[in-house]
Amino acid sequence: MFENYSDSQVYLAIVLAPLIGSIIAGVFGTYISRAVSHTVTIAGVGISFILALFVFKYFAFDGAQTYNETVYTWLVSDGIHFEVGFMVDNLTSMMLVVVSFVSLMVHLYTIGYMHDDPGYKRFFSYISLFTFSMYMLVMSNNFLQLFFGWEAVGLVSYLLIGFYYKKESAIFANLKAFLVNRVGDFGFILGIAGILMLFNTLDYAQVFAAANSKAGATIELIPGMQWSMITVICILLFIGAMGKSAQVPLHVWLPDSMEGPTPISALIHAATMVTAGIFMVTRMSPLFELSETALSFILVIGAITALFMGFLGIIQNDIKRVVAYSTLSQLGYMTVALGASAYSAAVFHLMTHAFFKALLFLAAGSVIIGMHHVQDIRKMGGLKKYMPITYWTSLIGTLALIGFPGFSGFFSKDSIIEAVQTAHIPGASFAYYSVLLGVFVTAVYSLRLFFIVFHGEERMDNHTKEHLKESPWVVTVPLILLAIPSVIIGGMTIGSVLYGDYFHGVVFVSEAHNVLEHLKEEYHGPLTMVLHGLTSAPFMLMVAGIAVAWLLYMKNPSVPGKIKDSFQWLYTIMDNKYGFDIFNEKVIAAGTRGIGNLLSRIGDILIIDGIIVNGSAKSVAWFSGIIRHMQTGYLYHYAFAMILGLIALLVIVVY
């Protein structure tokens, strides 16, 4: 492959194939049939997937050097070249495979899921456009293009959450998602501006090369207080990640984003886009390593997200929202890993999570198809016998999610927990207990969902029950294809990705923070790790979580209601999601409108227009009203005035 074509052509082809598919399905949608629209988009993503595999082989096995080239110069100003370019290395190639694989699965799945939707072609156009944007984000070699991709995936997310544009809840959710993400982007662009000020370039390679020499730079944000410039930049950049990767308190948009069709919940709001923040921080490891303050901040935010969003998963009754809160919690795990400087562990969990979470979402979608678009788990039950493939793949996804030893999620999650345990920066112990307790919580909400949906009493109405059947092959095949890596990918790759030198030269960790180095000494292959895992604290907590879920939702289904009744206050807090939405609506949104009204009424209408503009017009009118009395039109008045003037003049001249 790479012998015959120059690298840059291959990378361009990866990026452009889905874009062309998207344009054909979108712009020329009226002229082509449904079959053509899904064929071209799937072909586009398929091509990029195959090429991504070659690229991955090229880097992972052939040991290729980092590729870093400019595609074109966006603009030059002030001597600074702002460019569009690609940087491909081990991290990028791994992201490419993950993104293209999940995207391809979702494309296939969509044929079945959106079968009867009038927006079929539009949907294919959007998801291919998303794939293009995500490639641009992960392949960027500079901060500007990163921001391009960052906002472009946000745009497609906006369009897809509001895909059912007649639904009030959907168009509310997409506006909310965009604006909350913009709060993150607000920090992000300031971070980029800080980079430009400090380094006078936005090129990754140049910035990272100069990072150490600028570690001592300071900025005076408040007079008299010097702050480390790198810390300020890192926190600003991380605010961007908090928006995109839905960390508390900017997480509020993600549960609402479930208004979008299920395939995009899997692709965008679970496997790929929401992990952009994790990817970004990993990419910026040479900067983040210089600021312990920023790392502590990340650690604490991640820990809060991991634990407290997990709790909320326990009380949700919408099948997609349970998985959405699970995603929030898992993103928290990745963030914790970043804060602990275990970047490789974060990306490792990003990868395993992409597979098993996409699987869980698509399985949820399969259930939704079977249930004729009912999403309330209280109306499900006993689906095991109707949907065997969905059942078994869901089980695999669930076991991977809770970190059952041997499944892919076990390797990544256990590594994160152990890494945090070894970390020493402020907040590390809080984070450790949070992620540890999180294991229990994860097991409870995951198994609760699993038991309620697939086992127990069949609570659906008779009409639904009569039509219950397994989903068509375009739906089940992607489930099976995603189930395979959900089982094996963790054990297969942990040796090289986490404890090998896969990320050597890509991720930078300072000596003081190198937690994975300690774990490496204790690592003796995946099998030993599984055996060791069976005796560890996380395993006990997981088993306890499974047991609790079994007791509450299988054995004694009446108990949860009683618990809810006796802890009504707690339930109210959790049902209101700790009050974030209420606060945002009543205080932030209403407050903003209030300020707008105040400025408009008092500032523009009353003071500027009322007093100054129209006031001066009125005073002119008033003044001329007085002056007017002098111009009476009577000749003798004028004559009299002339005589007075003449006398006055004479007096002046004479004296």
């Binding site: 002030d78 500007l144 009030e168 662009i189 300031l190 900025i219 300020v232 707008g596 408009s600």
Partner: protein, 511 residues
Amino acid sequence: MFSNLPLLSLVIWTPIIGGMLVLATGSKNSIEAKVLSLLVSLATLALSIPLYTQFDNSLASMQFEELLPWISSFHINYHIGVDGISMPLILLTAFITVIVIIAAWKVITYKVAQYLAAFLILEGLMIGAFASLDAMLFYVFWEALLIPMFVIIGIWGGPNRVYATIKFFLYTFLGSVFMLISLLYLYMHAIDVNGVGTFSILDLQKLPLDLTPQILIFLSFLLAFAVKVPMWPVHTWLPDAHVEAPTGGSVILAAIMLKLGGYGFLRFSLPITPDASMTLDWLVISLSLIAIVYIGFVALIQSDMKKLIAYSSISHMGFVTLGFFLFWKITENTGSTSGAALGLEGGMIQMISHGFISGAMFLSVGVLYDRMHTRMIKDYGGVVNTMPAFATFAVFFAMANAGLPGTSGFVGEFMVIMSAFKANFWYAFLAAITLIIGAAYTLWMIKRVVFGPVANEQVEELEDMSGREFFIMLVLAIAVLAIGLYPAPILDVMHATIDNLIAQISVSKLP
């Protein structure tokens, strides 16, 4: 082959003379007037293109210069020429005028020839103002172009047009009178210094000047240009003028006329009074930041689509003036001038981008208004159901207005924020709030107007865009996308001029 043609004069006078011809011949037959106007505007656009293709990017000096004596006793000359600042604005003017004439094709039915002629004459006057190198000539164009706009709003405007036109006229006229006094002072001062008076802008830029007169002149220029931009707090004429103006009037007002204010800062304030600009840069920066944030909040609660877009314009123009005046604060903060050009060029590209985006936004409102005869957001809802093509463009331009990367709206905002950070973190902080508030007011409007279920019977019966409307939107969308994806060609023409400007303002003019 045409190297001896007075190209710039042709670009100025073709639309003016063409406009007179339209008045003379077309007033009886409206189709003749339309075709003739379109041809004239296209000819002007064609004539303006060599200004770009034959422009030498490496020169900071004036190009396509023409110099004829006009009123010799006062040393007033017909002196025109373009540099990297004025040339892109002239092209923008020629382009937008074609769009406006096509947009008027079916919409205007009352006194069609007069309407089109007003726009053609206005085009020539605006280009004349951008091209003038003689301050008196500039002043004549600057004042004369108020007349056609006054007529456009006054005759084809909405019910409250008289209030709006008088407010518009008095506001702008008040500003310009002070500018005239300043120009006369400078003429007299040139006699004191050089023994001979001059209105040549380039000569006035070289004239040494004490700080006190500089400050007074700066303030009078500020008044003239701030009204035009408009800057807070002299902005309240704009929403009223937009609301009453016909669609074409709004487009020209937002896309071109506001830019005359921004242009004035670059051509007059900064180079003629650099020391006063340095002393009072905090004032302009503060007013700009107030415009970005305060006006953003005000835009959010508007119930009239045109008012909302008008406020959005003011907020976006805040980036222009902010970018123009960052030079001294950057030097003070970082000890180097690096980053100043980013602000100046960012402001320039923001003006050009805003020309396309605000034009497209006003045209979008026009498309809806022509069908429903209301601009109120509450009268709409679910337009996407009946007008899917229109909805696509509306969402696209809304995203551009919200500064989405890949559209032209991002380029200027990005550059100015980058530059502002170098001057002071808090400038960048306040300016970047537009990322949130700009998205909020634009997309909230889109949510209420475009998305949702069909709101009422009128929306149910809407017809999607005609071929003519589709064409206009498409052309503008392509422009917005092209600048967003590849802004380098536009910026490249500015570098030499902007560098020269920076060199000019770095040197004190105090005698």
